[in-house]
Subunit: 245 residues, 2 copies
């Protein structure tokens, strides 16, 4: 963003703004996919590896894995839905509170508004006209307080549902990868090797793509993501072996 | 918040403000505990119930459950750590970008700043003094843009670590509840009944407390939380039974 200043500043600023907002909306979906896939790749993988360490045969491991994927997808999906819904409810409650405060205690609200601008070294004679402009327009004043005092953005009503479906589906997609070998290989000690190889490759690729989308270094992200899978499955394996003996 | 206006407005506003901030910080920890406990109660519970539907004996169910708890706690804990760390990195990158923009393209930044205030119906002659005050003080200007243009708050450096430990520990605490019956009852068909009863009670209590802390209706929250557990375990049970036959 080292663009040169141009006369058409407002247009540039608007373009810049709409660009940022697009980035933010898509990052919600990307975040949901990341949450779903990374847990879906990691937990069923570690569970299956853990059970293979306890001499359980492939068919039981597969049943456990599939049951885990179903339970995890529903728990994360419904959990995501309720979390997004409760975020929307929280916004509504705070909006109502701000609206009441602006009617009942406008002077306190105006003082809070002044306090927000004073934090940035703006002097009373500089911010007073802005505070008065907001008092003139109660709807804009409420929006201003919601964003600037409470840091809350109006949530998208469809977001809760999409978030739930995206997380759940991503979890299932992620979970299928480590379980495939147990479908085709009946011996758990052979299936687990194939599962480890396939899943580590998937985690590396997924971590790389994740890094690319979230703006982190892709190689670092690839290694970190694979590390989580490796640590989780090593722990599950050790604990299962310990409990088996 | 229907308090009467008093002469000591600034003090009241400050009190109100510090109260809100306390609420926000504690809600991060509460959110981490909620994420950990609700998944910890739900997924191992559903997995164990699912496996019992596939005629697997208690000791294997217990191994699978414990392996799942270990894998889930590590995946969520490390996942939470990396998510919080990547949030902190994102903040640092955006901060650097804003700092550069303020130096390289101050007029565009000033126009963006004006645009933010104009959205709330503030007129140019009213917001110009504020924009000029910010230009006088680059550090405050950067902070203003970070919060009001990008909606980013400076993250706490210790937050990543605490978040990871809180989520992981909460997952383990939640996961112990549904698995206890499989420790003491060797017959899976009896253990699963005890597990369902204990876990549904735990989900109801947890949902109630969660509702209390997050400001939702406690009874509604109790029923919703128990419903997620019931749906997830019913799905896991059905799928495991299907795969077994």
């Amino acid at each position: 963003m080292a663009e040169k200043a141009s006369p058409d500043l407002e247009k540039q600023a608007l373009l810049h703004k709409s660009h940022d907002e697009e980035h933010f909306t898509s990052s919600d979906v990307v975040r949901d996919i990341i949450i779903g896939v990374s847990d879906g790749l990691t937990v069923p993988f570690a569970l299956a590896a853990g059970l293979s360490g306890a001499d359980v045969n492939s068919s039981i491991i597969l049943i456990a894995g599939v049951a885990e994927v179903a339970a995890g997808a529903i728990s994360m999906g419904l959990g995501g839905y309720l979390a997004a819904k409760s975020e929307a409810d929280h916004y509504k409650r705070e909006l109502k509170r701000e609206e009441e405060e602006i009617i009942n205690v406008p002077d306190i609200e105006a003082a809070e508004c002044a306090e927000i601008l004073a934090q940035y070294g703006v002097e009373p004679h500089e911010y007073d006209p802005v505070v008065n402009a907001l008092r003139r327009n109660p709807q804009a004043w409420v929006d201003f307080m919601m964003k600037f005092e409470l840091g809350l953005e109006k949530p998208d009503p469809m977001r809760a549902l999409w978030s739930a479906l995206t997380i759940a589906l991503s979890y299932v997609v992620g979970g299928i990868v480590p379980l495939m070998p147990y479908v085709v290989i009946p011996y758990a000690d052979q299936a687990v090797v194939a599962s480890v190889v396939i899943t580590l490759i998937a985690l590396l690729i997924f971590g790389f793509v994740k890094g690319h989308f979230t703006g982190s270094q892709p190689f670092k992200s690839a290694l970190q993501t694979a590390l989580i899978g490796a640590v989780a499955s090593a722990a599950a394996y050790s604990i299962a072996k310990l409990f088996r003996t």
